[in-house]
């Protein structure tokens, strides 16, 4: 689908919860079946709307973490303890429940297989979700686009999709972790916030002209984008998606 086509106005629709998967102690993946869903592009998001009994409404945006797959989409939600929406989504929803959503939305933070590589993907916390859609799509279509994924998490148990990433890593996909708050015994990997030295080591460098996608909390995205520009990456090749200080 071309990103330039006239799409028509966006409307809310009812989606069925078909699966609820605990990813980490704080994160849950919700799988929805969305009747009439016309597909999505890797990197796009949906808006979710909750309505209280008194009519109060609130909306949140969540990136789609699954590759295009018929009428199914997966969202990964991290529970924010004092949050308004995430405790409900991660703690209350069960298969068979319905929820209002609209989408897919966005066309800027999107990777298509025909864009090719090399790819440099940098995710902080649940900012990994839209990058995972790209990695899953890349695997699904058998793309050999050279891809480096740098994942920043608080601890090893907070790393999203850890087992799947270990499975997918191989010749043309390199996955590098940095753990910012705590490390398991014997950890030999990175143990600090993402910085220019780390990005230079993970590569690919600016000479390779990678497509760069950075997603995470605003302070994370700002720091990474600034470091990338310092290294000589062209600002127009760096696509960013910020989800605010907490994601709520």
């Amino acid at each position: 689908m071309a990103g330039t086509a006239v799409l028509g106005r966006l409307t809310w629709r009812l989606a069925d919860v078909v699966d609820v998967v605990a990813e980490t102690p704080r994160a849950t993946t919700l799988v929805f079946d969305v009747p009439g869903w016309a597909g999505h592009r890797a990197g796009q998001h949906v808006d979710i709307r909750l309505t209280a009994e008194d009519g109060y409404r609130t909306e949140r945006s969540y990136s789609i973490s699954s590759a295009p797959d018929g009428t199914r989409i997966a969202l990964t939600v991290v529970r924010v303890e004092d949050g308004e929406v995430s405790p409900y989504l991660t703690g209350e929803l069960r298969p068979g429940d319905q929820i209002e959503l609209r989408g897919p939305v966005g066309g800027y933070f999107v990777w298509e297989p025909e864009h090719g590589g090399p790819l440099l993907l940098v995710g902080g916390g649940s900012g990994l979700a839209p990058l995972m859609a790209m990695i899953r799509l890349r695997a699904a279509v058998g793309s050999d686009a050279e891809t480096r994924l740098l994942v920043s998490s608080r601890s090893w148990e907070d790393v999203l999709y850890r087992a799947e990433l270990e499975r997918l890593a191989g010749d043309s996909l390199t996955v590098v972790h940095t753990l910012t708050a705590s490390r398991p015994p014997g950890w030999t990997g990175y143990a600090r916030r993402v910085d220019a030295d780390m990005l230079a080591t993970v590569g690919p460098g600016p000479a390779a002209q990678p497509h760069v996608f950075v997603c995470g909390p605003t302070p994370f995205v700002e720091a990474v984008a600034e470091a990338l520009v310092t290294l000589g990456h062209e600002p127009r090749r760096i696509r960013t998606e910020r989800f605010g200080p907490t994601g709520e």
């Binding site: 071309a2 990103g3 330039t4 086509a5 006239v6 799409l7 028509g8 106005r9 966006l10 998001h45 949906v46 808006d47 909306e59 945006s61 609209r102 989408g103 939305v105 966005g106 066309g107 800027y108 933070f109 909390p217 605003t218 302070p219 700002e222 696509r239 960013t240 998606e241 910020r242 989800f243 605010g244 200080p245």
Partner: protein, 88 residues
Amino acid sequence: MDETMLDGNAVAGMLREVFAVEATTAMATCGGCGAPTPMGATHVFRGAGFVLRCPHCDNALVTLVRGDTRMWIGFPGIRTLQIPIDAS
């Protein structure tokens, strides 16, 4: 840095309520500094509504306020908006 800052992707759904095209890939030329920026890369600040600012000079490009039955969209700082269309 303002930690509550978002980017143009955050208002993509709201813009699609009224525009039939994907707005985040539309290129906005700032009326202040003249730099072109994809709408998805603008800096977004939330108050009573949303203000989309130029990431180069901070000029207010677009304002969005939504009521129950109407949306007010201001374009105080956009010189031109370049929207991709399908060749026909």
